[in-house]
Symmetry: C2
DNA sequence: GTCTATACCTAGATAGAC
DNA sequence: GTCTATCTAGGTATAGAC
């Protein structure tokens, strides 16, 4: 009797866990955190509710993992763009555009990450990730100031404002997700973000 | 036997109801919506849990009333300032300042109104009030544009951005609520808001 | 009209069979 | 390891005494 799991066993368990996270993410994107009960998630994954606890010690732990994976992808993506090519103002504009497009492509998930009512554990995680967004924006603002592209300002406040502004604009896009509306939204939001940081109007 | 309540009875009931709302508001400000159980609120008001249902048909109804009262005061206050004296840019700056100071004076309540995890009924109300904030800001931006004080822009987007930016900056004020920090925060946030609307830097 | 006690419901978590 | 069935806790809402 093996006292240690075989590689095959480990990878199967990993796969099941990953699958569970993926299904839970879809459920959350569709119905929100409040309605994403253990039963609902288990059903979506095609397993019994009790089996969830083979992979996660609690519902909160699963929810936090779902949030971290999804939010982590967004932060990473934004970080790449903001740290990419071009001057600070160009990177900021590009970052806002990418963030906006990604959110509009998956509104359910974006809403869940940004604003949907959630248990305290997820709320705490959301707070932490908002700080990461702020840090990314603050760095770009600092670079823009250093390069003389942006006026003197408090980069932390501007970064928080950008984080909140983009979130608020995206969370309640009243209209339908038509292509034209999306393009206009991207243009208007980018312009507003640039003004917020004090970039000269194009 | 009276088939109709006497004025004294009515006013006593009204007073009890008002008192309950007031106590519930304090509890929410202190511990948030999630921890504000019927029992906790009743304890704070010095009545039995069951007695709450003499005044409200459900916990959700009480929570919504608490939110409406508190949020209504803030919207009204902001509306007065934004619709007061001075040109559009001055009014916007003054509005941001008043909003910020009021929030910092009662952080617990401000957090509850802006961001604290809450039941769906309250979340819906929050959404509605954010739209009212947007409407107020949008009107000022439109006036500023009409007066030639603000550049051409989408007032709805700018208004949403202002709403989100101010909320985000206020919800996580990391430092202690010292007087100096408050003044600096007010100055920086006001400057950021004005930039966001495209007002010339002072 | 207010209190005490309790019913009830929802949803998370567990135990034991297979 | 997974499923079925069950247990439990927390909190809303109600019934009946005073």
């Amino acid at each position: 009797m093996a006292y240690r799991k075989t590689p095959a066993e480990i990878s199967r368990l990993e796969a099941a866990r990953e699958r569970l996270i993926g299904c839970a993410t879809e459920v959350v994107a569709e119905v929100g955190w409040a309605q994403a009960s253990v039963t609902a998630v288990a059903d979506a994954a095609g397993i019994a509710a009790g089996s969830v606890y083979q992979h996660f010690p609690s519902k909160a732990a699963l929810a936090v993992e779902v949030f971290r994976r999804a939010a982590g992808r967004e932060v990473e993506m934004l970080g790449k763009v903001l740290g990419g090519a071009g001057d600070a103002v160009e990177r900021l504009a590009h970052g806002v555009e990418v963030f906006t497009r990604r959110a509009l492509e998956n509104r359910g998930l974006a809403y869940a990450l940004l604003a949907a009512p959630a248990e305290p554990a997820v709320g705490a995680e959301r707070l932490a990730f908002r700080l990461r967004y702020r840090a990314l924006f603050a760095e770009v603002v600092r670079e823009g100031m250093a390069a003389g592209l942006l006026p003197r300002q408090n980069p932390e406040i501007t970064a928080a404002a950008l984080t909140g502004a983009i979130g608020e604009v995206l969370v309640h896009p009243l209209g339908a997700p038509e292509e034209l509306a999306t393009e206009q939204l991207v243009a208007d939001l980018t312009a507003t973000a640039l003004r917020c940081a004090g970039a000269p109007t194009a």
